[in-house]
């Protein structure tokens, strides 16, 4: 028992000191920590939204939307591509029904050329299959079926850019501490600390914000348009105001992708709020050219497939600038500007989970929780002291050290403390108490059997360790399984548990043993009060 090598003493002390150093910043306000010298670690434990207050939104993408968009894009590519093919290939009966793109090549002699073209529009996904399979039936009908790999790949790309767009909308200035992460294949998690009322945020994320400028199709028969039918190459869209419908050409003059800026401003004519937009060089030139050729005719400004307004082109618009007016307030125009600037969402997102905690409520919980934990800790310490005397002091040191080490390690990993995490904390503190109790009870037992002081201590530690080991390994197994299979809150619990098990075994076994060895070496006890 007496030989406790010096390197071990140093090692244990050093580990404890480092852990404590990392625990320190979490006890002080962030503003104060920022002023400290740089050698003191500044990583803090972040409090979960359930404790600190804020908003948590889980968004889910409409995967069918992605599939539908891909089909439509491919339809457009094939239609335009075959028309521009030399020699042009005439097709008919094109449809996207049943999740496949099918079309008929009018001249069977060109079927092979059309097939080759369709095939050239597909791409391999990684090393695996291509994103579409192309096949020919009845000599002149070509069927393009999206493959699962292709769909997954498209969804993956849509989700990465959706994440970017969401981030830009939530935090356009990059000043807030927001978390925007992808979860699973089709979800995005948004966490905004301190946000009390997420309604504005939900409105901001609820819109795709796909902006398109298209020419109005004047050849369409108004009666047909009201019935929802448009000529070939055009489509019928609803008007934002008045509830009417209008036919516009399918091909966009410019779209939101070619936008370089959008900001809230006021209509120079009637001073109503709106959004002024600026297109990039290519978009601006295309817009200029089309407006030049179509002076006097109307064009439509379309947001998310709704026609906001359809003004007549009075003169060619050459500067690449346009102004969107309508029934906006300054705030809603500002929201639209943010949406347009952040780009269109490549896929529609729906809020499937919302959790919001008012910051004051969180603060209340923390204050009460802290007081209660403190009192509880003191109660346990007093209990340890009256039960084990000197060894109770060592157990107390180990307990406090354990709590601080857990905090320190959590700070190093930048882990988040949540309500379930506190339950994990309670459990590990319990385990730490138990390890100390196991050791001390065993020492009592060994002493009762007539062993001498040092032997009793030595045996107590050795015999107790198998039980401590088995009990903690089983908890580690549980924690790992929970981490892998549980959802958010259960994971929070598991993380604290895993960290806590390591630190509680370390403090309860190694640290107390060191303290006992140092004491025994110094005072050579002849009898033991335990």
């Amino acid at each position: 028992m007496l030989d406790f090598p010096r390197w071990k003493v140093w090692g244990i002390s050093l580990l404890c000191l480092v852990g404590l150093l990392f625990a320190v910043p979490s006890f002080f306000p962030e503003s104060q920590v920022a002023k400290w010298p740089s050698w003191i670690p500044s990583a803090r434990i972040s409090l979960g939204l359930d404790l600190a207050g804020g908003s948590h939104l889980l968004l889910e993408a409409d995967t069918r939307d992605v599939a539908k968009q891909r089909l439509e894009q491919m339809q457009e590519t094939i239609r335009v591509g075959l028309r521009r093919h030399s020699p042009p290939i005439a097709i008919g009966d094109i449809s996207t029904n049943g999740g496949r793109l099918t079309f008929m090549v009018r001249n069977p002699a060109q079927a092979d050329a059309a097939f080759e073209f369709a095939r050239s529009q597909t791409q391999p996904v990684g090393l695996g299959p291509r994103d579409w399979t192309v096949s020919m039936v009845d000599q002149n009908r070509i069927v393009m079926t999206p493959t699962q790999a292709g769909l997954n790949d498209a969804l993956d790309r849509a989700m990465s850019s959706a994440r970017e767009v969401v981030y830009n909308r939530v935090d356009p200035d990059g000043t807030k501490e927001v978390t925007v992460i992808r979860q699973g294949s089709d979800r995005i998690l948004v966490q905004v600390p301190g946000l009390q009322d997420p309604e504005g945020l939900k409105a901001l994320l609820g819109k795709t914000a796909r902006l398109e400028l298209k020419l109005v199709d004047l050849t369409a028969d108004p009666a047909q348009v009201q019935a929802g039918r448009a000529p070939v190459g055009s489509q019928v869209l609803p008007m934002a105001e008045g509830g009417g419908r209008i036919a516009v050409q399918r091909r966009a003059i410019v779209s939101g992708d070619q936008l370089i800026d959008a900001k809230q401003s006021f209509d120079p004519q009637d001073n109503r709020p709106g959004v002024s937009i600026t297109f990039d060089g290519r978009g601006g030139r295309a817009f200029g050219k089309v407006t030049q050729e179509n002076v006097g005719k109307p064009f439509a400004i379309i947001l998310d497939d709704v026609v906001l307004l359809a003004p007549n082109i009075k003169e060619p618009i050459l500067g690449g600038q346009a102004f969107i007016s309508g029934s906006y307030t300054v705030a809603s125009a500002n929201d639209l500007a943010v949406q347009l600037r952040s780009g269109k969402l490549p896929v529609k997102l729906t809020v499937i989970e919302e959790r919001t905690v008012g910051p004051e409520l969180g603060a209340d919980s923390i204050r009460l929780g802290a007081i209660a934990s403190l009192v509880a800790t003191v109660a346990v310490i007093v209990f340890m002291l009256v039960t084990y005397g000197r060894f109770g002091i060592y157990a107390t040191i180990a307990l406090i050290l354990n709590a601080l080490l857990i905090l320190g390690i959590m700070a190093i990993f930048n882990a988040t403390l949540t309500l379930p995490g506190i339950a994990g904390f309670v459990l590990t503190i319990g385990a730490a108490v138990d390890a100390n109790v196991l050791i001390n009870e065993r020492i009592r037992e060994e002493q009762r059997r007539g062993r001498r002081v040092l032997d009793a201590i030595e045996n107590g530690y050795r015999e107790a360790s198998t039980a401590i080991f088995d009990a903690n390994i089983t908890n580690v197994i549980a924690a790992v399984l929970m981490f892998y299979f549980g959802s958010g809150p259960i994971r929070g619990f598991a993380v604290v548990l895993m960290i806590g098990i390591v630190t509680s075994v370390f403090t309860a076994v190694n640290v107390t043993r060191m303290l006992v060895a140092l004491w025994a070496r110094k005072s050579r006890p002849k009898e033991l009060h335990i």
Binding site: L58, E354, M482, F485
Partner: protein, 321 residues
Amino acid sequence: MRLLKLVPDNTNIDFMRWRNVALMLSIIVTFASIALVAARGLNLGVDFVGGQMIRATFSQPAPIEDIRARIGALGLGDASISEFGNSRTLSIRMGLPPGGEEAANAAGSRVRAAITAKYPDTVFAVDTVSGKVSNELYRSGALAIALAMLGIAVYIWFRFEWQFGVGALTTLFHDVAMTMGFFSLTQLEFNLNVVAAILTIVGYSLNDTVVIYDRIRENLRKFRKMEIVPLLNVSLNETLSRTMVTSLSIMLALVVLLILGPEVIFGLTIAILLGTFIGTYSSIYISAPVLVWLKVDSNSFLPKNAGTSSAERVPSRNESF
């Protein structure tokens, strides 16, 4: 200074004498719990059934009737409204409105708007969970608990013997069933935090069981001639002091949290407190007696094939060198 000894030296309680009584009691309560959960159900929170849970804290005592009228006027279906913890806070619980995710979202906004229109200083905590997410949470919660229990049982089987694994699993099942029964009886809200509490109980009960098993294993090796029942009694008595000190210190801490802690952790704390109690009982009266019925004896820990088979073993060619 005289130190506190909760359990006097040389205590010798004949725990196993009442093992059949305890078993009957446990079986009755366990089945009653299962029946209760099946018949009356749990007061599942929005985490598991979807819907909305809104906690509104007012700047004055909560005008519960007025709020009831305001929310009723929105026509969003049944809302159960009650005080939460103190007189200034109301909890408003609503089911999933028909019409999918969009409708659920809109309903939350309308409730909030209806309250802030008259009481602008109100502070909210809102949980809106869609049917899809609640199903997933339910499944992943159940899966995590089941796998954790199974994984533990397998480990104990490897470290001890299969009877111990069965014993640990039975104990955990007993504890979890009773805790769920308690939640069904009291109709306290059963949410994700309570799942964390149940996992804590599983962890604690297990810790207790493993400590006692460890002692039983040690004594099985030490007292080769002793009958299993007295051996269990010796082991339980030897570990009794530790059981008492640990359980009491944890309960002490939990009672403090229960009295002084914030309202939001009430369900969590009371579940763990109850679980500590059940866990202590079950590691004595479930974990240990199971070993008797599964016929554990001192031969269980003899190295396999040590006796007769090694004598019969024919040395292989390599060994004969």
